[in-house]
Symmetry: C2
Amino acid sequence: MPAKKTRARRPATRSRVPLAGARVPGGLRDGERVLITSHDVAALAGVSRSAVSRTFTPAASVSDATRRKVQRAAAQLGYQPNVIARSLITRQSRLIGLIMGEWENPFYAAMLRQFSEKLQARDYRVMLLAGSSEKDVDDSVRLLRQYQVDGIVLVSAAPSEELAAECARAGVRLVLLNRERQGLPATSIVLDNAGIGRELAALLLNVGYQRFLLVRGRAQLRAGIERQDGFRSVLNAQRRGQIIGEGTDLVGYAAGRQFIREFVEAGKQPDAVVCSSDLTALGVLDGLRIDLGQRVPDDIAVVGFGDIPAASWAANELTTVALPLDGMIDAALSDMFDDSGADRPRRVVLPGRIIERSTTRTVASIQAAPSR
Amino acid sequence: MPAKKTRARRPATRSRVPLAGARVPGGLRDGERVLITSHDVAALAGVSRSAVSRTFTPAASVSDATRRKVQRAAAQLGYQPNVIARSLITRQSRLIGLIMGEWENPFYAAMLRQFSEKLQARDYRVMLLAGSSEKDVDDSVRLLRQYQVDGIVLVSAAPSEELAAECARAGVRLVLLNRERQGLPATSIVLDNAGIGRELAALLLNVGYQRFLLVRGRAQLRAGIERQDGFRSVLNAQRRGQIIGEGTDLVGYAAGRQFIREFVEAGKQPDAVVCSSDLTALGVLDGLRIDLGQRVPDDIAVVGFGDIPAASWAANELTTVALPLDGMIDAALSDMFDDSGADRPRRVVLPGRIIERSTTRTVASIQAAPSR
DNA sequence: AAGCAACTTGCACACGTTTGCAACGCGTGT
DNA sequence: ACACGCGTTGCAAACGTGTGCAAGTTGCTT
């Protein structure tokens, strides 16, 4: 496609009547493009453009006879209604913008898939943009607004306050997934992070782990902080166990593997590592077993977050917390399409679920061979 | 957003002049939506709509004075040009459709990312659709045509011939990624699969493996077949080694793990398993080591395809073949945007690269401890 | 036969933008 | 003083569609 070329304007009196009997569709030539419009179909079917339009509008009033005529003509010409033009007049693009800032984590690939499938099912389309920094996100939001999207889902940083306010004024709904930010006119779908932190602490204490290393992802995310706070609160309440170290801004396998190694080689030895992503946890696990020669779960426990496919592989069998992917997406979508008039910037919090596999001891294993 | 509601038509004589001095943008109310148009900006700046349009058109002729006036007004109102309306008149949507049929494999997540980033850089947007069966794909293509996309990239099945022909007529370019189909007016980006098969066979024979098990993904894909043919041709030429079994339609970790187990338990014992995806290979690897207690690479080799991140993890160290992701995407894009007039349904074949890790013996290991 | 309701159909305007064309302003050269 | 040219500006016609309104048609009831 030539990117920039002065369009050859066709004469106003061009013939728009397709060759009535020809098998090859008529339509109009415009440089290399051929576009068949409702006009062409109308002419071939011997009806008005309105009839064509109504044939393709579900609830419109057309007789079966004309509808059939139109459908025949449309099929013959390969006519597809032009959604761009339709959007212009209906002021609804049926487009949802999706800004993606997390690509490494397989969990988000699954999310992406579900999103596009579920939106497709509702007869909406997704426009995908990549962007991680706040500046990127702002640019992306601006772009999406230019495309008149009906809503924006963010799996990334939040946009700036001014831009979010602008979206709110324009009636474009914002949904933050797995993120939140105070005072933004945007719905947040988040996990009960503090609750998960508490459950994790209780579980680990219960099977005898005591010296914890807490590993977080991106430093500025509230989620990780809340999880740690929940975790800590149980330690304080039970007056057992201690946090002997923390790691921040660790994202991905390599980061986890390197971090645990340096941590242990610096002379500190946890007996349980709690990570904020499965990828990091798997890095820690391999670092522990392969680089450091430690026994998991006997000497040390590892727990992840997200329950990505690799967590359940036989070589890993990682204890982790499963996220309610379906629930998150349904929540996002139902907020996006909700027109009950409920007060809008909502906050949906969903529970996670701990999946015990083989990187943590179980109560049974404890009883069989009591620790120390 | 109310999905279906008769739009309250506003009176033809509505006031379109924004409150001149007000800080809150004027614009027009339409139900819940507020939309600021070039008209509003023009009024505030005291110029015509044309001037506004030209300000936002890079190569247009506007004086610096009016451009500044317009920009000030636009900023004040938060105006964004309506790309929908622009597309209608320029007959260019700057939209590329991307139909995705492969979601499990992390390799395709990386591809998705690169695509959206590189298209964004060229000032194009990507519309993402999910679809795997040919019917899904046809539906998706139709949808994309309704949105007037400038091109379609398929990482999925190919569309039907009629539909592809229709796209060709409409000037919408089709690019198949990692797929191909004879006689379709679509460019294919493929790997040199036969070449990879040959290299793999040579490598494995060279370090002493003899009894091969070949595992393929989706049965109908040419790629897997070509790879096997290449592999076989080397065996024939060298009169060494034999293929003792094949598996088809195995996709994903679980399938690989189960398959190898059943295969061996049925009494057959390969000494090298060649898989057509890393995921399957990792399943086979775990099945071999954990379920079957075999030693890799001493007793048996495993090789994958794709070089996904998990392949390089310390616990796996999978020998695999790396795909030229960048090259594939650049090829797809440059074909899509090429206007040199080269004959179009092209066929680009790219080389893969074998990455030897620890699931195959090396020549050095052979010499240290000669096999049998 | 006339009246009426229900349904169908076409006209024409609107959506927000781009852009060819003509008009205009202004400086310069003769 | 006038002609000329150049850069800027506004007018108005598109782009392809949806839809309120009024006119037309049909079938039924009285």
